[in-house]
Amino acid sequence: MRYLPHSEAERAEMLGVIGAANFDALFSAVPAGALKSFDLGLPAHSPEFLVEAHMKALAGKNRSGGDGPFFVGAGAYRHHVPATVDHLIQRSEWLTAYTPYQPEISQGTLQMLFEFQTQVAKLTGMDVANASLYDGSTGTAEAVLMARRLTKRNKIVLSGGLHPHYRDVVKAYLKDDADLECLSASPEGQGDILDHIDETTAAIVIQTPDFYGHLRNMKAAADAAHAKGALLIVVITEVVSLGLLEAPGALGADIVVAEGQSIGNALNFGGPYLGLLATRKEFIRQMPGRICGETVDAEGQRGFVLTLSTREQHIRREKATSNICTNSGLCALAFSIHMALLGEAGFTRLARLNHAQACKLADALATVSGVEVLNTSFFNEMTIRTSQPAASLIERLAKRGILAGVPVSRLEPSDPSVNNLIVLAATELTTDSDISALVVALSEELA
């Protein structure tokens, strides 16, 4: 048992010091019958090379992104992560540290979180950010609850362009809540959420680029919301877009939620990811999740601590702002390192490269007979309507070695109007030959 340090002799010696006859004596509070040295029927311990073989066999049954042309997006994006990022996050002092409850010996994590919060605030154009949430979808639900606390109003309007999974998470969090209005999707352009704002509205939630890739007018939405005393929550699933698109803060957003996976974090089949949440200064005491703040130590040196914890469950218990008790520390670290490596110059180039590849993709798709590109505006993702049902088309393309995007019906199975829609993304990893291969395969399948 390579992870357990005791020898049998040491165990016996320690039991002696304790004054226990055997291990069972240590479990004497367990009711009779519940303590079992039963055979669970689970495999016995295994040497490293066999465990590795088992896991490699499982991994080998999956098609990984690097195996061929890849256009899958819809809330998770395949970007290149510099080797430096993965090396650094695997350093023991980052990887194996716990929550920085003792700030004097956690300054590495705390300074990093302070830098991370600054990066997120700058990206989003907001005053303050927290130290990350679980992911973009749960972050959206938390933002909705935060808006209700801030406005003391109940009605929440979700735009039809919000990622369907995010909508579903908000629905689960606000189960059976009559004051939740989910507008239906409008794949072809801007649905008018602005007509749904009234004096009872706490917030409207708008994603940009939206699930279908369209860019949304945040300024108009902010003005309309504020005119009725409501808040604007902006959701971003592709943070790379912020390299080219105006910051939501500059357009009047009150709360910005984003999925941070695109920067520094691998696809990982959906997790772990990290939720970014940024807001205006006056709202910080209603902001959920961990926050790191600057202070000084006994010698007057700058240092950092977790702060404003009076909002949290371990102090306020049932009166807490949320039940959240952690953040995505390691994912935030990866995000922060990757962002520091990029800097403004690199981040802008990355965004431009993504947009350029997407423009090529859109132009190429527009040449395929049986394909209609629905977007007039987009960042790195778009929706096409195909002359055949999308789900089986995607399967057939997968058999040809091309992961060609997400059939919208997979996320909206009850809406037959989306059956022929596919959402596709391009990133810096999408090559010209990938695009050509997709065009050829699509043309053949749709012929």
Partner: protein, 509 residues
Amino acid sequence: MSMNNQGRPTGTGTAGFASTSGSALLPNEPLLFEIGDTEHSGVDLPDVTISTDRLGGFERKTPLDLAGLTEPEAMRHYVRLSRLNHSIDSGMYPLGSCTMKHNPRLNEKMARLPGFSDIHPLQPVSTVQGALELMEQLSHWLMTLTNTAAVALTPKAGAHGELLGMMAIKAAQEHAGQGHRKIVLVPESAHGTNPATAAFLGYTVKAVPAREDGTVDVQAVKDALSPEVAAIMLTNPNTCGLFEPQVIEIAAAVHEAGAFFYCDGANFNAIMGVVRPGDLGIDAMHINLHKTFSTPHGGGGPGAGPVVLSEALAPFAPVPFVRKGQNGLELVEHATGKVLGRITAFQGQMGMYVRALTYMLSHGGDGLAQAAQDAVLNANYIKARLQHIFSVPFPDYPTMHEALFDDSFLKDSGVTTLDFAKALIDEGFHPMTMYFPLVVHGAMLIEPTESESKQTLDRFCDVMEELAQDAKSGNKKRFTAAPMKAPRRRLDETRAARTPILKWERPAV
């Protein structure tokens, strides 16, 4: 882009390089924004010109002002910062109720196989059969170890699992026409997340007092039960480190009253492979994969909090989940019937599933049981070695995974529990958990886990004894001035909360 403050701390009231961390090999590290600028980049990307952009007139006009570092500069910045952290690989972390155990590097290696890390949550299910198989295997281990009927893998952290578990209970009761049940019983010693979760779902929290011996009294539970009670949220082993001896009777009484038993499984590491919570009558229990199955905590997360469910709650598990279909494994992504909706965008913490299963296979069923026994052995060893100085508030039972003491030995010494904990830092140890559980005044909760050798435990106990003697002998300064050898001296947390500075601002020139 010159910086007038390059390399120097800029925060309010700072006094330049001071003694604590000024050693040659552990320099103060400036902020990223003080050493980087908007021109430098450590990533080589072509600068593309786009002839006709499709940004619809929404292009950025406000500058990003994001500092960049070249690769060598970034390497040094993050390596230097890392050295200001304590970590489980650098020393013992006896944080009770938080459970820091060895993080095997094999887990990391496996999680980085492209077949796991480079797969998309929405790529065709036919192309991720291995991932679904892995989720099935992990589910099998979790259900077997707990003797339960179902498991929901997707919660992103223990507290998220709690939320899901209580949502399932709420849904089950509403389905059975019992939606009027609005009270949740929570023992006083519970984790703060328990009452927060119940309140979050609209329940009224009613505290159940602890007995003199630190455990929950079945009679107190019976007295609190009524047709209005939806559930009890009980931690077992509890936060005092004790196994609830009457847990089976408590479960029976709760069920008898038509309520559910939510078990906070934060401390499952103490009983895995030895006691199956399903045998005790639980209906739902989250399992913190990082605590019990060694996924790394990375300075605060990510966590992963799968929830096991009883037969009664199984139909309410959220989507997505894996099931066997005609063409191999299927991913059920949409709620039908009683199924709860979705509590996170995708399939949960796959990266953590890989690490947890790797750890399980490495240990095997036999090794997990041994690990639980060793964790309990280590906690009891610390208790046995230290109980002559540090008083044990609840001496009636052997402790489980953590040893609970109180600070009565510090009475009249002028040294607080916090001071004592900070002095431990100067001896190379991360402090224990302090002032928790709340039911014990001046609590000191120590959890060594199974990772620690007898030699390390002995050294820890020697230091604890020595510090206690020193505190009693009146050497106050060693404690009130501590830590003296850490990267920072005692930090002013009140100031941080009173005048929050939550991001770097460019200093006025």
